[in-house]
């Protein structure tokens, strides 16, 4: 039982990391808390489902985040979110509501209902003791891990990563040394949106459904993970995502499911608190 809980914790850790990392990157480079992040996640799942009949699930998994990423880039370029961070907060909140309503109308028109079931793209039950583990989850975790590793390489070893870190640390200095600050910011917004959409497209077959509100359900957790990980910190977001995921899965199995999420959130809230005090005192 514990083995399966740990395995599932690992899978969800990868997925939470994808989500939180997008949020952390956007905050790091633009200085805004993107409240429409959950909406990008939902659109990823929705597009993944819509494009599957035409492209197949794996094709949709590539195209859906790409489309959302481009839309995110265009959105950041058009709205110039970086100019006023307070206004940007409200704007991303409004954007979330608008996207959610559009998705609700589209889903209702297409299916006649607000929640639509999604089938798993693979049927691969892996026997573990007297239970089975859905092999698709391992595939989803592998894809998420590969993307995270790719991002890690980009972040640490490429000129792009260097530019992003420079913008995060000091925008003025970055600009003086020739970093195209605005394009880095807009590009990072697009990348963050694409990561959220990829997470949504991967989670759809695990959640077994797509609904316009699915983004709201994950927004709070991903914001907390990103905050506790240190906004703008690649490694921090990754570490806290796994801590949260393991805690939630283990506590659900070992204790009361009603308390599991609350306890896991409380734990990462504590991490955020300790971290902020550390920064205050340093």
């Amino acid at each position: 039982m514990l083995l399966l809980a740990l395995l599932n914790g690992l899978v969800w850790g990868c997925l939470w990391a994808l989500l939180a990392l997008g949020l952390a990157l956007i905050y790091g480079t633009l200085g805004i808390l993107n409240l429409s992040h959950g909406a990008f996640y939902m659109v990823g799942a929705l597009l993944g489902w819509l494009l599957t009949p035409a492209l197949g699930f794996w094709g949709a998994l590539v195209v859906a985040p790409g489309l959302v990423g481009l839309a995110g880039l265009a959105l950041a370029r058009l709205t110039r979110l970086e100019r006023n961070t307070t206004a940007a907060l409200l704007m991303t909140f409004a954007l979330m509501l608008i996207i959610q309503q559009i998705a609700a109308i589209a889903l209702q028109a297409a299916t006649g209902e607000l929640r639509h079931p999604i089938a798993s793209p693979v049927r691969w039950p892996i026997p573990v003791g007297d239970r089975f583990y859905d092999g698709y989850r391992l595939i989803a975790a592998a894809i998420a891990s590969a993307v995270l590793m790719g991002l890690g390489v980009l972040w640490g070893l490429t000129r792009w990563g260097c530019c992003v870190r420079a913008v995060r640390d000091n925008r003025d200095l970055a600009s003086i040394v020739g970093v195209p600050v605005l394009w880095v910011q807009w590009g990072t917004f697009g990348l963050g949106a694409a990561l959220a959409a990829l997470a949504g497209a991967l989670v759809g077959p695990i959640a077994r459904e797509v609904s316009p509100t699915m983004g709201v359900e994950v927004l709070l957790v991903s914001v907390l993970i990103a905050v506790a990980g240190g906004m703008g910190s690649f490694g921090g977001a990754l570490a806290v995502a796994f801590v949260y995921s393991f805690l939630e899965n283990l506590l659900t199995v070992l204790a009361d499911p009603m308390l599991a999420r609350a306890s896991a959130l409380f734990a990462i809230g504590l991490i955020a608190l300790v971290r902020s005090q550390g920064e205050l005192f340093s």
Binding site: P125, F132, Y133, E209, M214, T252, V253, P257, M258, R261
Partner: protein, 418 residues
């Protein structure tokens, strides 16, 4: 030649005559208004739409049957109760005070029913809640609330003996924490313990987590004969899918109320082999022989195929049994109103007395079969069925007569003042 005075006299006389004739005609034709606390959005929106359709069909049939006491009946809908108790309560008030509804058929959402019940009494308007949580008739009902379809407790009372004898007494109950789930868990626990069985309860937050894998893992298969689930429709589908992922369908007997899959196709592999307690068979060929003529008419009026799908959209499953609550509420109003010659809301106390203890023979008006309305708790009792998904279709295994669902109630609304 007509003088000016004669002309004025004639004009005034004609005007008064026309006014009186028109006024009395209007009074005679004044429709009886049945309001619908309609959820157009939220978790029960699909149910809301179908209940509204059943009400519309029932009212059209009533009007073909010369209305109620010779007066036509009109359906007035609320804007949107949104599956939210506070909003639903406000919508009820608007229906009664602004749209002048004489009777109101309630939301399918139990929380909204419980929030609205006290207001029904304050506004002295007979209210037919369509949620099925036990507390609607036990703790939160009053003299003005009537349940025209079963509650959780009635369904469990009807089915428990069959379930214990055929499926087992060692239960694990996985349930949502909302009224619908909680009341199922509580009522089953009482029955199981009284029968000497064992029960493990796993409450699940509402809305349910994105991934139910860890919840399923909590089920101890070595101590479980029956895995009972109590969720809303979409969450039931996700739960059963998560159970299939861990191969539980092959290990334990899975049971639930039909309300959990009322709008779901049974062709999904995750439903194969699972058991349900229902108020009526989904498929026409499973309906008892003596009810088939009424069943055919009911399906035709509401627009339901013989397999339980929408006539317009053959992929859309209709919550056929659940709709009886609204359909039959209209005919309960008709039957009681005609018994007491109901004219206006001042006659409502007499109508309530007539409803209390009313018996209804099987007919097109009551196609679910013969029923009776218990005076004390204002609950209708009808037959139940045990159905199993076999080859992707619901098949009736047992018919449980309405007397089996009679449980001892703690309520007695007949003692309440009007």
């Amino acid at each position: 030649m007509l003088s000016r005075r004669d002309f004025l006299r004639a004009s005034v006389g004609a005007t008064v005559a026309v006014w009186m004739w028109g006024g009395s005609g209007e009074s005679q034709a004044q429709p009886i208004r049945i309001g619908h606390q309609l959820d157009r959005t939220g978790a029960v929106a699909l149910f809301g739409r179908w209940h509204n359709r059943a009400l519309d069909a029932a009212i059209r049939l009533v009007n073909k049957q010369h209305g109620i006491n010779g007066r036509p009946v009109e359906l007035v809908n609320s804007e949107d109760s949104q599956t939210k108790p506070d909003v639903g309560k406000d919508e009820f008030e608007k229906l009664v005070t602004q749209k002048r509804a004489d009777f109101v058929i309630g939301s399918v959402f139990s929380g909204t029913n419980i929030a609205t019940a006290p207001l029904a009494k304050t506004l002295k308007t007979v209210y037919f809640p369509q949620g099925i949580a036990t507390d609607i008739t036990e703790r939160f009902g009053n003299r003005y609330t009537f349940k025209s379809y079963h509650t959780v407790r009635a369904a469990i009372e009807a089915a428990h003996e069959w379930v214990f004898a055929n499926l087992g007494k060692r239960f694990t109950i996985v349930h949502s924490v909302i009224d619908l789930g909680r009341s199922q868990a509580e009522d089953w626990t009482e029955k199981i313990k009284a029968a000497g069985g064992t029960v493990e309860r796993i409450p699940v937050p509402f809305p349910a987590p994105t991934d139910l894998f860890s919840i399923i893992q909590k089920i101890d298969l070595s101590k479980t004969d029956v895995l009972y689930h109590a969720f809303t429709a979409v969450e039931t589908a996700r739960f059963l899918q998560a159970a299939l992922d861990q191969n539980l369908q092959a290990t334990v007997k899975i049971l639930g109320l039909i309300e959990g899959i009322d709008i779901l196709s049974t062709a999904d592999p995750s439903l194969e082999g699972t058991y349900f307690i229902s108020g009526y068979p989904r498929r026409a060929d499973q309906v008892p022989e003596e009810l088939r003529d009424f069943d055919r008419e009911y399906r035709r009026h509401v627009g339901i195929t013989l397999d339980g799908f929408s006539v317009e959209n053959p992929r859309e499953v209709v919550p056929i049994a659940d709709l009886f609550g609204s359909w039959q509420a209209v005919f309960l109003i008709k039957q009681a109103a005609e018994l007491v010659n109901w004219r206006s809301k001042s006659d409502t106390p007499a109508l309530i007395r007539a409803l209390e203890g009313l018996t209804m023979p099987a007919s097109v008006n009551f196609p679910q079969g013969a029923q009776f309305l218990r005076a004390q708790d204002h609950l209708v009792f009808h037959d139940h069925y045990i159905e199993k998904v076999e080859g992707g279709q619901l098949t009736v295994l047992a018919r449980l007569p309405k007397e089996k669902s009679l449980y001892k109630t703690n309520a007695d609304y007949t003692k309440e003042e009007f």
